[in-house]
């Protein structure tokens, strides 16, 4: 790919200050969003303020962490290169079409996980969609962006408002009603299925068991389990136990959710925000294929795209990795297979010097 502008991999300023600023911007933007979206807090339900508050903190954390992440030279390079390539005007329409396709496969169906392991994919798909749908409902609710009310003229009709605008009405005996009222329960069940499959896998797979860590691999499952179960208890309390312990349960539920929101930017869940950046890699790889191939200076065979090798060298110099060789060549221009061969040849040659031979016979 010619004509791509170089990317500044060592931006000025302090990483922390920069990231703090982005964190604050994200939090502020969310607050503005809540205020505007709830028509000046008119639709805002004060009972949900603790949820909204935790979300604002989470937004700050996510902004901070994302910005910090983008300060790392390799991330920065891929991020900006990805956008550069995506936005090239004459490629844009094709890119958008392609984006839709990869989005469908990688985000909606999560096919790449299926190829890693069916069990893992099953667990992840239920977890992911349980959470995403639940989030799509609860966040707007807690922000006051969505609200439901009974029609003034007919107790049997339910009306839904988004940003204060009436978007739909449905009768209570329609199929929509139970779906709308129980969507979170459905999500909770999906999440629980995911949690159980994941725990089953982690409890059986010795490989997974040996590398898993509590804070990174098990805590998220515990949190999701807690949220789902307490949520389901709320429903059970309402419908089956006439509100028994409802207040206590709702507080317990709130605690689990708020803890998860606070954990969101720093634990495993951050990958939800990180992962979509993967979509850019596809465009990067395709653009690279259209450009030239880099040839290994040892075996002469192509081994990567010139785009990537060039970018990698830039990343390395930003990271102070010094691969320039004494003879003027660059170690990054040696293909991985030749590196492996070269290492063995180097070590083997050390043994074939006269000194090494003498040493051997000294022990004779």
């Amino acid at each position: 790919m010619d004509g791509l502008k170089p990317i500044n991999l060592s931006p000025r300023g302090s990483d922390t200050a920069h990231s703090l600023a982005w964190g604050l911007i994200a939090a502020a933007a969310l607050i503005v969003g809540i205020v505007v979206g709830s028509r000046g807090l008119k639709d805002f339900d004060p009972a949900l303020i603790s949820y909204a508050g935790a979300t604002v903190f989470s937004a700050f954390g996510l902004g901070y962490r994302y910005a910090m992440w983008l300060r790392r030279p390799p991330t920065r390079l891929y991020w900006f290169r990805g956008w550069q390539i995506f936005l090239i005007p004459k490629r844009l329409p094709g890119n958008i079409a392609r984006l839709v396709r990869i989005f469908w496969n990688n985000v909606v169906l999560q096919r790449f996980i299926e190829r890693r392991s069916k069990t893992r994919w099953t667990a992840h798909w239920f977890l992911a969609w349980g959470c995403l749908i639940a989030a799509a409902v609860t966040f707007p609710l807690s922000f006051g962006w969505i609200r439901f009310e009974t029609a003034a003229d007919n107790q049997q009709i339910y009306r839904a408002f988004v940003f204060g605008i009436h978007v739909a009405s449905f009768p209570l005996d329609s199929i929509m009603a139970p779906l709308a009222f129980n969507i979170l329960d459905i999500c909770a069940v999906m999440v629980l299925i995911g949690v159980f499959v994941a725990m089953w896998r982690r409890g059986r797979d010795r490989g997974a068991m040996s590398v898993q860590q509590f804070s990174n691999d098990l805590l998220p499952l515990v949190l999701l389990f807690a949220i789902s179960v307490t949520g389901l208890f709320l429903t059970a309390s309402t419908h089956l136990m006439r509100g028994l312990y409802y207040v206590f349960l709702s507080q317990l539920h709130a605690v689990t959710v708020i803890f998860t929101l606070l954990y969101l930017p720093f634990g495993k869940f951050f990958h939800i925000f990180q992962r979509p950046a993967q979509l850019g890699i596809d465009f990067y790889k395709r653009a690279g294929e259209e450009g030239g191939q880099a040839q290994c200076i040892r075996c002469g065979q192509p081994f990567a795209t010139q785009l990537q090798i060039g970018d990698l060298k830039a990343v390395q110099s930003a990271l102070c990795i010094q691969y320039a060789m004494r003879d003027g060549t660059h170690y990054q221009d040696v293909c991985p297979a030749c590196r492996r061969k070269n290492l063995a040849l180097t070590q083997d040659a050390l043994w074939r010097t006269p000194e090494a031979e003498l040493q051997r016979f000294d022990r004779f």
Partner: protein, 208 residues
């Protein structure tokens, strides 16, 4: 983790591929072999080269990873990419000075030797170093190595100006303090060159 460490002596390798076959038996990635075994240039020689992950102190693979997907355990083992994070860009594959990480096309993810973490974390030997018939790959205590090898074990490498320290050791002659890696070429010659060390025809020259 035990007091035993991993040692490579490339010169011992006989290319039998036991390590390659056994690697796929490791529980963390059963069915997938992650070790490398290169036949250096079969026409000229029978020399082969095994390569496991060297588990760098400051792994370059992790430094060039845009997704922050490569992590080191507290005991210094550089793990395969984290599945939720790896985006399959291959930066690590291309940047690793030892040529270790593998990009697995089917799963669009990098996997690499993880020191048989399922085994070494419970004080068992890694698969490859257990089976290796030649001792090119060995998992032993420093004392055992000192007793049984004529060379010494070092873990310092230099690629260009980049100095790399690794958890895995290499066996070298006693006077060597660091492996300074320069490019070593074996040129594929149409007819034998006089300095060709493994050309049987040249060895026989004086009888012909």
């Amino acid at each position: 983790m035990s007091e035993r460490a991993f040692y490579i002596d490339y010169s011992r390798c006989i290319g039998c591929q036991s390590c390659v076959q056994a690697c796929a038996e490791c529980d963390t990635h059963r069915g997938v072999s992650l070790i490398h075994l290169e036949t250096i240039q079969r026409r000229e020689s029978v020399q082969t080269a095994p390569q496991v992950c060297m588990h760098c102190e400051d792994p370059i693979c992790a430094r060039v990873c845009p997704a922050d997907a490569i992590k080191k355990t507290p005991d210094g083992v550089v793990q395969s990419s984290l599945k939720p994070r790896c985006i399959g860009c291959s930066n690590c594959v291309l940047a690793c000075p030892f040529g270790v990480p593998r990009y697995q096309v089917e799963i669009d993810q990098m996997m690499k030797c993880d020191y048989c973490y399922d085994r070494t974390s419970v004080d068992k030997k890694p698969m490859c170093a257990t089976v290796c018939p030649s001792g090119a790959l060995t998992f032993a205590t420093a004392e055992e190595i000192q007793r049984s090898r004529r060379g010494i074990a070092i873990n310092s490498w230099k690629f260009g100006n980049e100095v790399v320290k690794t958890k895995v050791f290499v066996i070298v002659p006693r006077e060597v303090e660091r492996v300074n890696v320069e490019l070593v070429q074996i040129s594929p010659t149409p007819s034998a060159l006089s300095d060709d060390p493994y050309d049987v025809a040249l060895m026989l020259e004086s009888v012909e």
